[in-house]
Symmetry: C2
Subunit: 407 residues, 2 copies
Amino acid sequence: MKKNLIVGQSGGPTCVINSSLYGVILEALQAENHIDEIYGMVNGIEGFLKGNVISLKKQLDSNEQKVLQTTPGAYLGSCRYKLPANLEDEVFAKLFEELTRLNIGYFLYIGGNDSMDTVSKLSRYAESIQSSIRFIGIPKTIDNDLILTDHTPGFGSAAKFVATTVREIAMDAAIYDKKSVTIVEIMGRHAGWLTASSVLARKFKNDNPVLIYLPETSFNEEDFLKEIKQHLNTKTNLVVCVSEGLHDEKGDFICEKVNSVSVDNFGHKVLAGCGKYLEELVKKHLNVKVRSVELNVTQRCSSTLLSKTDLDEAALAGRAGVQAILTGETGKMVAFHRATNKPYSITTSLVDVNEVCNQEKKVPLEWITNHDTDIADEFISYVLPLIQGNVTIPQKDGLPLFAYRNF
Amino acid sequence: MKKNLIVGQSGGPTCVINSSLYGVILEALQAENHIDEIYGMVNGIEGFLKGNVISLKKQLDSNEQKVLQTTPGAYLGSCRYKLPANLEDEVFAKLFEELTRLNIGYFLYIGGNDSMDTVSKLSRYAESIQSSIRFIGIPKTIDNDLILTDHTPGFGSAAKFVATTVREIAMDAAIYDKKSVTIVEIMGRHAGWLTASSVLARKFKNDNPVLIYLPETSFNEEDFLKEIKQHLNTKTNLVVCVSEGLHDEKGDFICEKVNSVSVDNFGHKVLAGCGKYLEELVKKHLNVKVRSVELNVTQRCSSTLLSKTDLDEAALAGRAGVQAILTGETGKMVAFHRATNKPYSITTSLVDVNEVCNQEKKVPLEWITNHDTDIADEFISYVLPLIQGNVTIPQKDGLPLFAYRNF
């Protein structure tokens, strides 16, 4: 008996999350013997609870599907909604009532750690009530912090953006014959994968960025100033890359030393301003021109610097998710396994979503070198394949064309 | 008798200032009957005074010249050095002694208002001592604020970056079903050309950015909050674009407002940008999620979003400068005249550099509409031709290749 499929997006946007959605739609359309309607939940599980569901077959013709693939953000909208830990909470009964009403057999959720938590809870609840509805997670996060997968869709493009932009900022910073420090703040609350990618910006020995600080190790202000002072002896214009999540040895975030902090729905502190803080620190202690640049949301929404590898793999993850769910899998996340590195090739596999959710994969400490100020070559050979290939974005009048939901 | 040519770059970097340098070199190489050596002054007139001069023929083979064209920053390095107003100052004698020693006949300077001031003073000094050395300015500024020219090289690419990036930020901002305001701060201290370009990000009526504030008019906080409140009634996620140079009716910059600054744990004031200030203002007065994004230096150094039109015109300006100087012109700046708008075509002309320098061309007030919150269609038809065409950047390993001076 044919069932319907529903797909949702959750957590922070990336520039390839819609490529995974595109992959899901493509594969689901090809499985017409098993899948009837393809639904999209608008604003994730939170929107679903409000009955906000659309038919994706009706929304997207094949031309719009192609535009969808390179559209940043989250076509279906997203949410930061955490299901209760107690599976006996009434919200689960309500959710499954609605899923049953829509004749859903297959539920795919594209997101990061928190979204995998949703997949975990829903699949466990299904098991507890012996429901036949299946649940699969499609990984997505620029932070690259999901465990049990070689890397995550979204990371490669963000890494390409960071590496390219830091190289450009270094060109911009180098023009005056006057000692200067440029601090670039890069996303990554607890994991430094994205900040580490700035190492790719270097073209020669002692090139910028001369110092790179990740949140995997403790940050010491005195050591930081000492390093900068020393590098200024041999180089006029320094570029220093720092993760937004830098913290001192007590675990206190550097950015909290300057900003009032708000807390999101998951209890995560909303961070901003570690670059700004360090700018002030350098200004105060060293007689040198200094500025800070926060890459901010552009690093996760730039369609201009998409990695073709990342874009294709994001679609692949979506397709693999549909294939898995049709063969009876549930409570799993699609993962990447690096089969070979030269030439680069991956295979997909399935991992237990209960093991993935609420975990964080950090940069291995042995890849953080030179008194916690540099990145090992092992990281470079890990990340380089992920940023390869360019993507041509559909354009009109010199600007990118994106796909929009009809309202 | 053959003379040597010297070229310099001055003021802030752009992503096409090296295309003008490329144009100068190309044209100078073709004028081998008139021009012997092609010198580059390193770090502009300031470096020249220190004897910092390189041979560009030796530095750049033809392959490197092509890479040079799409390299952001300023290949020769730059300076912010203002020559004294008094032409009898000894610095002029010193400069001309050095120019004579190097057998310079032709002096080209690529820059904005301040750089044209340098060209003006040097050409006037040359006249006063009856020197035959000629001086021509090549316009350059992302701010587009030079008078007597339709527009300036550098503006088109920066405008393309701003429009594209604001469109992407709008996609990023739209994903949650929760009232939000995203404030994007764009460069332009006194002229709002670049901020106005964000209007191109809109795809449909009432699309983001819903509000655009330029520094040409006074900014009123109460009106601003009222506008935002009103737009939040009909739209969930607002993107608002503001110029860094917003000021109140007294002329005080918004970014300098004392009550906007945070204090770090040493009790030092941390100066916030105007976007950050407005973020805090909205947070304080309206119960809504708000964040600010400062596009910062990326808007002037992104090689990824080069406008082909801008890149070609920058090279054209360089070539036109060499052509003009060889026909005996001095004390002039190369200017663009828009011959036709549909189809777009320009011609170059020469304008008196004394009239250009230290002047600022602002966005006409009649192009600022809707109680100073929006931009007229006339601006769109002015700017749209300038952002057309894409440029393929030479790459290696998935990252852009740039040209570097040998040290």
